[in-house]
Amino acid sequence: MSPVLLAVAVPLAFALAAFAMRSERARPWMVPAAGVCQVPVVVWLLAQRERFAPADGSWTGLDPLGALLLGYLCVLFGCCAFYAPPYLRLRSERPNRVFCSMLLVLFAMMNFFAVSQHVGLMWVTIETTTLSTAPLLYFNRNRRSIEATWKYLLIGSVGVALALLGSFFLGYAALHAGLGSSLVIGDLVANASSLSRPWLHSAFVLLLIGYGTKMGLAPMHTWKPDAYGEAPGLVGALLAGGFTSCAFVGLLRFYSICVAAGDGAFARELLLAFGLLSMAVGGVFMVRQRDFKRMLAYSSVEQMGILVLGTAVGGVGLFGALLHMLGNGFAKGVLFLSAANIHRHFGSKSTDEVRGALRILPASATLFLLGFFAVTGAPPFALFLSEFTILRAAVSEQRFAVAGAFLGLLLLVFIGMGATVLTLVQGEPLAGRERPAARPERVQKLVPIVALLALVLLLGVWVPQPLEAALWSAARFVEGIR
Amino acid sequence: MTPLGAIAHLALAVLLPPLLLGVIQRTKARMAGRRGAPLLQPYYDLAKLFSKGIVLSRTTTWVFLAGPVVAVATASLASLLVPFGEKAAPVSFAGDLVLFAYLFGLGRFFTVAAALDTGSSFEGMGGAREATFSALAEPALFLSLLVLVIVRQSFSLSGLVGEDQSALWATAGVPVALACLSLFVVLLAENSRIPFDDPTTHLELTMIHEVMLLDHSGPLLGLALLGAAQKLLVQSALLVRIAVPLPDGPEPLRWAAFLAAILALGVVIGLVESTMARLRLRQVPMLLIAASLLSAFGMVLLVR
């Protein structure tokens, strides 16, 4: 058993403990407890990163991408987890056994994905992640949430099935080349140049679509607005921040095989097309969007577009994309959690009914607004830095049309999203909804959001040296510069 | 330019204007077959006004008083920028032509504001017309000055008037003629003469300048009228000095020639007023734009 699996075992143990626990009131505290206990483990693993680098043929290990993802997930979950107890206390009418344990399973599986080095193992973990999410989405137990769960399951399964086919194709590409039967990423990268091209290309297409479905790239994004719209805010934050990032990292691993095979250009064109399409779809569907949680979903679609676009541009752009992944995750956390506070108070997530949130929930609404500015890349938030970097890469690659389209789509997104967000937070509350928050808003429900916001801001003004090094080594790893 | 000369210049700028008005009125009377009032009648009128008391409207404020005061002050100062009989004006610097134009703008600002201060609909109407037409006259004025700037390569009024008018006419006769024509139109418009306005009409609805003075009385009315007459004189002087070459003789001869030319211009204005009808108000902008186009054409001729 590799020590890296400790990062999986800790949350899994907490999941079991939560499942076994009797007390409805104490159980939610298992979630932040797991988040806290995970920290030393991850710190230890990352500090000893060299030692745990994937050995030849090993199914698990910490490659630079995985290390980045593992650390990022730990921080994201660590912040979001503290939102669970106050949230579940408000929902005390509902048993939370399944919710808590599945939340922890989800976390465990995302960590598992981060340390997986085998194509098949990656597939299994991502599929398990999907399945463990289903009960979380269905937490509200109403018609809308069951519909969302169903669509999420089916579309996700179809996508994952395609990813499986792609994984098989990849294996066949190796087999065809007479490379034996290893499906370990490291081996595939090492032997990439002799992989069979037609199989590799088809495999990449299928993997892109499969993992792209999980990421929520257009046109495979259709589950996203439904799922994010109906999920509790906490789940939305973890899906939009964690789960999609896992899928993106998976995609990057396959992309690195393509690059190693000398077929980077082919993959880049595909990524570029999906990236621009996703940004456009996200932007267009945010225009006049009245449901603010669905709006967040489309924002996520657009952000995923930026991630693959940055990958497609390459070089510094990839660095930017990875930074963007972190920034987006934290910003989405801010948005989903503060949106959940607003949703909870108003009992609606439509701008037809929610107005003047700044007057009634000053703290949550301010955080929501700042989250909006962060996620749309206002300087000096982290997403500005990453978008700037991606743009820089596009310009230095002489792809001016891409850079222009990127800027134009960012404007579209800002205007589309801004209209909804401002309708929501500004103005007077509608008649009958002026009820102010009973007392100052609960601090427990604000602290995680503030922490996440601080992270987005911090990464924008100051990327710590180790993180910068980690981002660079991940970017170089993907592009095969060792 | 000695201080004494400047004072003399200023004195002329204050004292001469009524005479110019008298000349115009006399010309018009003669053309109409009347004997007309004495040449000095405007002086008598002013003297009478200055010795009267005033009645103020309850609506008015200090702005009402400022109107005539500013009009006289700005016109007097503007006169210092224009050479009369002397070779160069008492005050002259690069860009003084802008000051010249903007001084009248300042005067107009307060005249119109004083009109609005009364709250009377008629006076307000007159103010609106004054502001409208002078806004359109401004480009025409500048265009005609630009023609001269290009010819003379100088940015002051004294420089534009220059030393040697005959050379001016010889080198750029057509553009300068166009500019002078345009200046003449501007002069008529700025001073509310026929065909833009009839200073002697008695129908308030159609007036421009006079209607703004409906509520002024006594010394204030006198100041306002004096200011208007000064403006006419100063602008006439500029036109005269540009258009008419003064003899290259001793100082008194030049002054005499200047005075003669000014009075001749008064006659010309009188002739124009006698032979033309007042334009309909709607047609006034057309004429001003036409004047601008004349100068613009002159400028194109120069810089093409």
């Binding site: 098949g120 399945l131 269905y138 499986l164 | -």
Partner: protein
């Protein structure tokens, strides 16, 4: 090898068409179950002799795909009540035609992919792609939630056919994990369908369009 495999694959293809042509939901489920069983058999035929693990996996495949999953689906069918027709958006003839076109395209596409020596003459790749496409056809043209699960199952079956080429590459644990995931996936779907039928009056996916723009 291919003399055993090819007839099996032809059977698999036949079941595809059966699935597209039949009007009873139960028959569709049965076709998928039979397809799954065939896959297990094919697996055993190819690798059954290679060891205990392969044997166990082949049997598990038959057990899960041929028995367990169909049971779940039949249970769901029973709980839904009276309506047992497939209710497609397009006619059965069109479905069959689409299936034929999909099969043809699969053959064409498979030709462009170079094959390893051993698999060259087998129908493996075209059959796999055709089954995947059949799964898609069922998913996109059938109205009921339950039939859509069957479509997903067919999709998976197609992928497993391809997986037959890769037994050596796939570690046992992973293969087992994949299988288990499919089982759990279908189980969860069954649970969801159960809830849907409780929340909504009938299992018509058409009714599930409340979440829309």
């Amino acid at each position: 090898m291919s003399e055993v495999l090819n007839p099996l694959l032809v059977l698999v293809l036949l079941f595809n068409f059966l699935m597209l042509g039949t009007s009873r939901v139960a028959a569709v489920i049965n076709a998928a179950a039979a397809q799954g069983t065939l896959l297990g058999v094919a697996y055993l035929a190819m690798h059954g002799g290679s060891g205990v693990r392969a044997l166990a996996l082949g049997l598990a495949m038959i057990g899960i795909k041929g028995i367990a999953i169909p049971r779940i689906l039949r249970g769901a069918l029973r709980s839904q009540g009276i309506r047992r027709e497939v209710e497609p958006f397009v006619s059965f003839t069109t479905s069959l035609l689409l299936g034929a076109v999909a099969t043809g395209l699969s053959v064409l596409f498979a030709r462009t992919l170079p094959l390893a020596a051993g698999d060259a003459e087998a129908l493996l790749v075209p059959a796999s792609l055709a089954t995947v496409l059949t799964g898609f056809i069922v998913l996109t043209t059938r109205r009921k939630a339950l039939t859509q699960v069957v479509g997903y199952l067919t999709l998976e079956n197609g992928i497993f056919i391809f997986g037959l080429t890769l037994i050596e590459a796939m570690p046992f644990l992973v293969e087992a994990g994949v299988l288990l995931d499919v089982l759990v996936g279908v189980f969860v779907m069954g649970v969801v369908i159960d809830h849907i039928s409780r929340e909504f009056s009938s299992i018509q996916v058409d009714d599930l369009t409340e979440l829309r723009e």
